[in-house]
Symmetry: C2
Subunit: 196 residues, 2 copies
DNA sequence: CGGGTAAGTCATTCCCGGTTGACATCGGGC
DNA sequence: GCCCGATGTCAACCGGGAATGACTTACCCG
């Protein structure tokens, strides 16, 4: 997981009094901190400081830590339209991405860390499930089409998640020939699930 | 995640004064609670109560919450010998397990929840990585053998993890024909990774 | 049987972090 | 220019939960 200390200390950008802007700043900071440290590990004071705001404002704008978390979660599960993925290139693109460093996709990786955090927290899990079904599984089902959509969608999602977790956990990506093989096999595996 | 309330209230088995036994009881309770609620969500008082012991003893035996968590983690990553898995039946067995309810394998599921918790906690992640490499990845590499061991092992581990996460997250397993298809395809997928 | 040590109990302290409410200040509209 | 509501600040409160240490009780050994 990302070290939080590196997250703060960068944007004490003096903002003119602007409720909308500070709200957005807080939300952005919250997403980072929740992703890096989880619900309990993220502290409102830190988030506020990172956003260049006062902790009390979190209460005003989000109604407490729970509200902030829910808002951040909702904001995180709004990925680009799955429906527009390329049916042909998809598998290879994903495979290549998975073979690389997690850092290379900082934005996405953070979002995923966040979701994984939410998944492992009994308080936030139900919230997550609902959102994932609606904004991830449903589009996938739609996208792959064909027979046995349900089984294939679940298996595809599983593989996808597994790859993301593995990438998140490991220290070093593969290199050289092993890397090529990994990409090739991963791509083949994904493609087979998409195609039928 | 599991509801903690159901975990307690069962074994106020009056133990004779026995340091080793209480230590073990505490450790067992800790594994359950950490798995169900995560590091922050698990309370020492609850764990102690569940183990029929006093919270102060945790301090005595494990040197604080951190120590207890580390001990529980170490104790959780000692799964049965991978090397003895059946090369033929493996894929189908796993697939069938993954198609079922997480509850059905309470023991294992708990252990996995626990590991996932550890993975998403910045403090415990490094500890986990080391243990996983040594006690999971290495045996897998050994077990599958053949060419491109590294790539195949990683992909296999990814799929495995993904299936576990998916099973953990979802509310309802598949049923009927979809379930059969799911098992069949999952088994095929795993087997292909094992065989070569 | 009696004393000493390990095992277990209890009350208390301490700290941390979310929350609250009173206060200060900005900025736009009259 | 001035006034009022919206925005932002500050200090204090409060609860929960881990840690501490003094105390009590059981067991075992001589």
């Amino acid at each position: 997981m990302t070290n939080v200390s590196t997250l703060a200390a960068e944007k004490p950008v003096a903002r003119r009094r602007d409720a909308e802007a500070t709200r957005a700043a807080i939300l952005a900071a919250a997403k980072k901190h929740f992703a890096a440290s989880g619900y309990d590990g993220a502290y409102l004071r830190d988030i506020a400081a990172d956003a260049g705001a006062d902790a009390a404002l979190i209460n005003r704008y989000f109604g407490g830590k729970d509200g902030l978390f829910a808002a951040a979660l909702k904001d995180s599960i709004a990925p680009d339209a799955i429906s527009q993925w390329d049916r042909k290139g998809f598998a290879h693109d994903v495979a290549k991405m998975m073979a690389g460093h997690a850092h290379q996709n900082a934005e996405r990786t953070h979002a995923f860390e966040f979701l994984l955090q939410a998944a492992t927290n009994p308080i936030t899990a139900p919230l997550l499930n609902e959102a994932v079904q609606e904004r991830f599984m449903d589009p996938i089902r739609q996208w792959i089409g064909g027979d046995h959509v349900e089984a294939r969608a679940r298996l595809l999602a599983s593989v996808f998640i597994g790859l993301l977790v593995e990438r998140l956990i490991r220290d070093e990506p593969l290199a050289g020939a092993e890397r090529e093989i990994f990409i090739e096999r991963t791509a083949a595996l994904l493609q087979s699930l998409v195609d039928n």
